[in-house]
């Protein structure tokens, strides 16, 4: 059994290694390139993109939907695993919360990037029209951001107090910051009662908020009368898709954090095995909703639906569609059925596949539909019949993803990614023959 000091030593944040510094440098370069492209976009307008009157939502909205989906992992893992009292969640939930926070911040940033006039972003609040799903989105995104912040912060308090003591001599400046952020945490009965009560409230609250966020995101599309969007299936379809994207991102992040931070004793094969089953379940549910989303319109085969589905099944977007469906859902489910498929390294590659497919999935939800309006495309430039992002769009997209990874990297650097106090408590309870479920 490890001592308290050993746990703290193992789980306390560590300085960046050389490899991490290189990683950080690469992220900053990508962010800077995207920043320059964005400055040019603001100066010149959206003409630097390949967006047009038909493909008016392009890669930026795909990114937005992807970030919204990924942010669901906090609500999904923390709330669901907590409410179902799954003890194996302990080493995973903080990373899930950090991913959620980074993703929801970037979702908010991305939607502003999509605006031709970002200086008018405030108009969405000043002139809010409550009938519009866009206004609902403007309300739910900051709400979910605050909820995720509380979800991350309350359980952190005891760990921040521990880190204050831990860095007291070796790094007084850092210790001072941890001390301020720990809010004078002493572990008193009153403090613990307040903390536990707050965690319970936020854990119950974050799940409906996560569901509302995903549903509103889906309604942005389904309330628009367009082929492939105007579907009653879209709410659950987006929620299940978010489940896949979020858990996939969690698997990849956990593998990297475990490897870089040397947390093999805390995040074990057992956790990957559980997470693998969780991911397989998410993929199966999403496959079911995909079948609903595509097979029923294919069966009905109205003229417009047929044109749209032909583009996806055999046409211009078929490579991406089948990669997303087979590579991003069917193959992971098959691999995850085997125990070897749920080993850390295998899970990492499956996670990469799932995340890549999740991003492209958002791309083919957004773009092909826009290129098949109910009113025919007539008398407009031929180039409007197709859409592929411009260099500016790719640079800004790369920058968005890099910024999310930068936030993730910095939070992982300064926060304990595995809850220290809870791990110590659980270890003690385990030795006493009990398993903590709080």
């Amino acid at each position: 059994m490890k001592s308290r000091e050993q746990f703290i030593q193992d789980l306390a944040p560590k300085k960046f290694t050389k490899a991490e510094k290189i990683w950080l440098g690469l992220l900053i370069i990508v962010i800077f390139a995207g920043f320059l492209a964005y400055v040019d976009q603001v100066r010149s307008g959206l003409k630097v993109t390949n967006l047009n009157d038909y493909a008016l939502w392009g890669i930026y909205i795909s990114n937005f939907v992807f970030f919204i989906a990924t942010s669901f992992v906090g609500a999904a893992t923390v709330a669901i695993l907590r409410l179902t009292k799954n003890a194996w969640r302990t080493p995973l939930v903080r990373i899930a919360e950090i991913i959620s926070l980074a993703a929801i911040i970037m979702a908010g940033v991305t939607i502003i990037i999509d605006l031709g006039r970002p200086d008018r972003a405030l108009y969405t609040i000043i002139y809010a029209r409550f009938q519009s799903p866009i206004t609902w989105d403007v309300i739910i995104i900051p709400t979910y951001l605050v909820a995720i912040f509380f979800l991350l912060y309350f359980p952190l308090l005891p760990d921040l107090a521990i880190l204050k003591e831990f860095y007291n001599k070796s790094n007084p400046r850092l210790s001072k910051w941890y001390g301020k952020l720990s809010l004078n945490w002493k572990g008193s009965t009153v403090q613990k009662a307040l903390q536990q009560k707050s965690i319970k409230i936020i854990a119950v609250l974050v799940l409906p908020l996560g569901l509302i966020l995903q549903t509103i995101d889906a309604w942005l599309f389904s309330s628009t009368y367009r082929i492939g969007w105007n579907s009653t299936n879209f709410g659950p379809y987006f929620i299940s898709g978010a489940f896949v994207a979020g858990v996939g991102t969690l698997v990849v992040t956990i593998y990297m954090v475990r490897k870089v931070k040397g947390l093999e004793d805390y995040i074990t094969d057992y956790h990957f095995d559980k997470l693998g089953k969780f991911l397989a379940l998410a993929c199966l549910i999403y496959l079911y909703f995909n079948a609903n989303e595509y097979l029923m319109p294919a069966y009905a085969s109205t003229v417009n639906e047929e044109v749209h589905l032909d583009t996806l099944f055999t046409g211009h977007y078929s490579t991406i569609f089948w990669f997303v469906t087979i590579g991003g859902l069917v193959v992971p489910v098959i691999l995850l059925m085997f125990k070897k498929g749920r080993k850390p390294l295998a899970m990492f590659w499956i996670g990469i596949l799932v995340v890549l497919a999740s991003w492209w999935k958002r791309y083919i939800i957004v773009t092909p539909t826009l290129l098949h309006p109910y009113l025919p495309i007539q008398g407009v430039p031929e180039s409007w019949r197709d859409y592929f992002p411009s260099l500016h769009e790719w640079l800004i997209t790369g920058s968005n993803l890099a910024t999310a990874l930068l936030i993730l990297t910095l939070l992982v650097r300064y926060l304990p990614v595995v809850a220290i106090q809870r791990t110590i408590d659980e270890s003690e309870l385990e030795n006493n023959g009990q398993i903590g479920e709080s």
Binding site: Q131, F154, W185, L205, F323
Partner: protein, 289 residues
């Protein structure tokens, strides 16, 4: 994604190659000047404007294309003299309109025929060309009459120069509508020896406040051009407008948001953010305890 990129690359190469070949032939074609074809129609609206509808096109590479943004001169031919009465230009769709502001100043020839010429001086892309249009001045006098509780439109076509009725000319009776007119009865009615037509109007045609904007039209006549006479008559069925303009609906402006939606949204915001405030105070209490 590798396959996807290769597909794009191959498409790119093909498109570039095709563009090179096809693009060069277009350039060659543009070195020859094409002839601009001009079509002109004279239109007279009773108690309104007299104008010329002009359309310019050309045949390039065996295709008819519109000729846009060209300057056109409008001339009157009288006693072998051509007097310029104004200019106009074609728009992006090759269409132009010239309003004859002072029709009374135009001089007909001894037979009462007006001769106008639309002339294009040519430019670096198109050769010079012109088109003449000749017409006589005519009027359509239109009135609404009631016989045996049935509404009729009576129209009389008169040659103003000769002050005589024009027989055997097709007149169309129609009601103005937003996109295209609604033709009443037959496609057209031929004028009798008195130059008249009389057409019954059904009483079930909807109109705002029951008013119908009727039109009697002589369309593209060789001798008289087009003449349109308008008549407003309260003989239609009143449209009951089911407007939701003043109601709170999902499609109203933000000032008329449905109450349930306001209540739902504000309740959500107040409850959730109320909990957040409570949690924030819990943080303060933790800090102080």
């Amino acid at each position: 994604m590798k396959k996807f990129n290769i597909t794009y690359f191959i498409s790119f190469v093909i498109i570039i190659s095709l563009n090179f070949v096809l693009g060069s032939s277009n350039l060659f074609a543009q070195t020859k000047k094409a002839k601009a074809r001009i079509n002109v129609d004279y239109v007279k609206v009773m108690d309104g404007e007299h104008y010329l509808n002009i359309k310019a096109s050309a045949r390039i590479n065996k295709k008819t294309v519109v000729v846009s943004d060209i300057e056109l001169s409008i001339l009157q031919e009288f006693n072998d003299e051509e007097i310029e009465i104004g200019t106009t230009s074609t728009d992006a769709s090759g269409m132009g309109k010239f309003i004859i502001n002072n029709f009374e100043d135009l001089q007909p020839d001894s037979l009462g025929v007006y001769d106008l010429i639309v002339s294009f001086a040519g430019n670096e892309l198109f050769k010079k060309s012109s088109k003449d249009v000749s017409f006589r001045n005519a009027d359509i006098n239109v009135e609404w009459i009631v016989k045996d509780s049935i509404n009729y439109v009576n129209a009389k076509l008169i040659d103003t120069q000769m002050d005589s009725a024009i027989a055997e000319m097709p007149l169309v009776v129609q009601v103005e509508r937003l996109f295209r007119p609604l033709v009443i009865g037959e496609d057209s009615y031929e004028t009798d020896e008195n130059g008249e037509i009389e057409v019954a109007i059904d009483d079930d045609i909807p109109g705002i406040d029951g008013n119908l904007d009727l039109e009697v039209v002589l369309s593209e006549s060789d001798d008289y051009g087009s003449i349109i006479a308008k008549l407003a008559a309260p003989i239609g069925t009143v449209i009951v407008e089911e407007s939701t303009f003043d109601q709170r609906t999902m499609w109203s402006p933000r000032g008329k948001t449905p109450i349930f939606l306001l209540a739902l949204t504000y309740s959500f915001v107040f409850i959730v953010w109320g909990i957040f405030i409570y949690l924030f105070f819990n943080l303060i209490r933790i800090n102080k305890s």
